[in-house]
Symmetry: C2
Subunit: 229 residues, 2 copies
């Protein structure tokens, strides 16, 4: 009767981890804009803890690049230049491309069906014209592809960069037309993976993720609006 209910690592109760998660979430939601300074005592008071776990959380987020830690000068939300943002999306495209290629090669019949089911889940959000809901299901769809690569390290790397780009993907979907084309592109990816066409799957998801031309301009403008308003 005393069997551990969760053999896997269940939520470890460390304040620093919880704080890091919450801060990452708030940054993704735009509560802390790029360039914002994060004061240790302020955060400590706000969360009702001491500076120690706050510092540990800041260090964690600094390691992921979400924050920039300048010694003796505090932590600020990393400012990402348009140039660098495009670089990051290029790397994301390459990682997802690798995921799709491996998925096309390795995914079982059942896994392909499950992926298609998740793609279908996005329909409701598209038809209901609900960008936030689509954002969530879209994210799940992409994460499913990472998993289908059957390369757990690759999956983790892709997830990490995905989290890092979260604030910007969110902005990207604000562009109305993007939700529709995004959904359409997903269908092509599912087909390519299901048919085992590695190169086609890789190529399609690369085109889906890469930001260039007018789509990059769209992202920049909504980014400018978000940081001003």
């Amino acid at each position: 009767m005393d069997i551990a209910p969760n053999p896997a690592d269940n939520e470890p109760p460390r304040l620093a981890n919880q704080l890091a998660d919450q801060l990452a979430e708030r940054i993704a939601m735009g509560d802390y804009l790029p360039g914002s300074r994060l004061d240790e005592v302020d955060l400590a008071e706000r969360f009702g803890v001491s500076r120690t776990p706050v510092r540990e959380a800041l260090i964690q987020l600094g390691s992921t690049g979400l924050l920039t830690l300048r010694p003796r000068r505090g932590a600020v939300v990393t400012e990402v230049s348009p140039q660098r943002l495009m670089e990051m999306f290029d790397v994301m495209a390459e990682l997802e491309s690798m995921c799709a290629r491996l998925a096309a090669r390795r995914a079982t019949r059942d896994e392909c069906l499950a992926l298609r089911a998740q793609h279908d889940d996005c329909v409701d959000a598209v038809q209901g014209n609900d960008p936030d809901e689509y954002y969530l299901r879209n994210e799940r769809f992409h994460h499913a592809i990472y998993r289908l690569s059957h390369n757990s390290f690759l999956e983790e790397q892709a997830l990490a960069l995905s989290r890092r780009l979260r604030p910007y993907r969110r902005l990207q979907l604000r562009v109305r037309a993007r939700v529709n084309s995004s959904f359409a592109e997903h269908a092509g990816v599912v087909d390519a993976i299901s048919s085992g066409d590695e190169e086609l799957a890789a190529q399609r998801i690369r085109g889906h993720v890469t930001i260039q031309g007018e789509r990059f301009a769209d992202l920049l403008s909504s980014l400018a609006r978000a940081t001003q308003g």
Copy 2:
């Protein structure tokens, strides 16, 4: 006269950072083997500091994956299974492949010459049959390719994973024949990049980095010897 001598960020004097660097170095050198437990008070005494900066260093290394931090149970050097090691090298191959492709497209004539010069630097180490020296120059050669991608984010990601794999690359070069073939493969990569052949460059460096077949068996056996002896 009071111009700052170094406009770029010069070494910030934070104990946690220095400790993280030193620990990473010692782990790479095999002073701490996978599975080793890192005691906070022990490290603090050994380095003559308090537990605070030690903890911060451990958290940093935990974020990179070099250490595994189990809440309330301390930090251990992450144990990497053969399966996972191959996964990591696969991702490394993909990142370097992307670097090479971009380098072939973007590198200037001068940059190509500089790369070839660095390749030539490796000759001495090969002829002198000095694996450690070759290890260093080989590393510089690869880092040069990262830089030639002209994608600074990609460069950082590749560098990070390169550091993560450092202990294992080192072992890999212990295999005598590997130094010679490695050097030969470099020449092909330089040629492909210099001639601007993206696909050839990408393909060649992928083959150079990926570990499979008997090369993987070689790595595993030297790894087993290293952890036992």
